[in-house]
């Protein structure tokens, strides 16, 4: 595992979160509910289902990340971050360019089809705005210090830097999936 410049890593994450907010603000929130709820042509998730799936992860991870950040009293700017072995594995798995094309979601994270589509989009934006604040706040801490329990295996704790990368990469994966459902205009 090679070390990366912390600021460079966080710049990349901040850019991605900004793009995810942008997609929701420019496109998703302006679509009619029936389009947001329309299943993908191959029978896959609708846009609202993709976002609901992310919201469920977000409602677990974002409070955990905030708590992790709040526990850090020591100011540490700059420096490098080195992924843990398992953290790097999770991030790579989520990366569409390097990992598998399809991953089966855990049962509790499979969204139903009956959703209040605009409420789902609004919640997604709310969470992303919070995540953006977390990424900015992370500039002041050691990314290797806070340890955050994994949602599906609470006994396993990952470094904050790995959790941030994993969450943003997972968002990216499903935002791309959702965008494939957008009618071309």
């Amino acid at each position: 595992m090679s070390a990366v410049e912390k600021d460079q890593l966080l710049n990349g994450l901040e850019r991605s979160v900004n793009e995810h907010i942008q997609s929701a603000v420019v496109v998703f929130q302006n679509m009619r509910s029936d389009l947001l709820l329309k299943p993908a042509p191959d029978g896959g998730w609708s846009i609202a289902q993709c976002l609901e799936h992310l919201n469920r992860y977000g409602s677990y991870y974002i409070p955990q990340i905030r708590q992790g950040l709040a526990r850090q009293k020591k100011l540490e700017t700059g420096g490098v971050f080195k992924s843990g072995v398992i953290g790097a594995y999770f991030t790579r798995m989520m990366d569409l360019d390097r990992g598998q094309k399809k991953i089966k979601a855990f049962k509790e994270y499979i969204p139903g089809v009956e959703l209040d589509a605009h409420a789902v989009v609004a919640e997604f934006i709310r969470q992303q705005e919070m995540l953006l604040a977390c990424v900015r706040c992370a500039r002041r801490v050691d990314l290797g210090r806070p340890r955050i329990p994994v949602s599906i295996m609470k006994w396993l704790k990952l470094k904050l830097g790995d959790v941030l990368q994993f969450v943003v990469m997972h968002d990216e994966r499903h935002i791309r999936q959702a965008k494939r459902n957008c009618p071309m205009d």
């Binding site: 907010i21 603000v25 929130q29 009619r32 209040d116 605009h118 953006l132």
Partner: protein, 194 residues
């Protein structure tokens, strides 16, 4: 940045044309400033030190209290002035917040400089007074809309006046500005052909 000053000059001339000398003096007090998405520029309780001129992005002035009540009072976007104007001109602690909703860039002028120019140059004082009076007209017009219009009429009015903000900022801020809940807002979005 040259563009920003051109835009500022156009806005100022539209409010009240200045002599060349007055414009030179006014142009001299602004400096560039930028902020990321969701940055608070003025906090409740703080003094408003700057008058902003928006070059890029969308911002809002809002009220927020300890009972979690929130009211979005005004959106600002290019080319217009921004900041908490009453706190600025009265130099009193602000009762409101001013925050960016998208990445934003501005020109901003410190109050002390602006005040000095207003005291020394009647043309500038007059321009500021006219600008404020237009702002007051806008507030009064909005009060009528808030008190008389149906939700749908209010929605259509914003759509007509500022159609671009629907694709620039999260709808929850527009719904809050109109005093509507998210469900009603969503119904109106479903009626639109966007």
């Amino acid at each position: 940045m040259v563009d920003a000053f051109v835009q500022l000059e156009q806005l100022v001339s539209a409010v009240h044309p200045l002599t060349e000398e007055d414009w030179e003096a006014l142009a001299g007090i602004w400096s560039p400033f930028s902020a990321q998405r969701k940055e608070v520029l003025t906090t409740e309780g703080a003094v408003e030190r700057y008058l902003y001129f928006v070059v890029e992005g969308v911002q809002r002035v809002y009220y927020f209290d300890d009972q979690d009540r929130e009211a979005t009072l005004v959106f600002t976007y290019a080319p217009s002035f921004g900041g908490v104007l009453d706190a600025l001109l009265l130099q009193q602690p602000s009762r409101y917040f001013y925050e960016t909703l998208t990445p934003s860039s501005f020109l901003r002028a410190p109050y002390v400089e602006l005040d000095r120019l207003m005291q020394a140059r009647p043309g500038i004082a007059h321009m500021v007074r006219k600008g404020l009076t237009h702002a007051l007209s806008g507030v009064l017009e909005r009060l009528v809309e808030l008190q008389c219009y149906t939700a749908e009429e209010k929605f259509n009015k914003v759509l007509q006046r500022s159609p671009h903000i629907f694709r620039l900022i999260p709808h929850k801020y527009i719904a809050n500005y109109l005093g509507m809940d998210a469900t009603n807002f969503s119904k109106l979005i479903n009626k639109q052909k966007m």
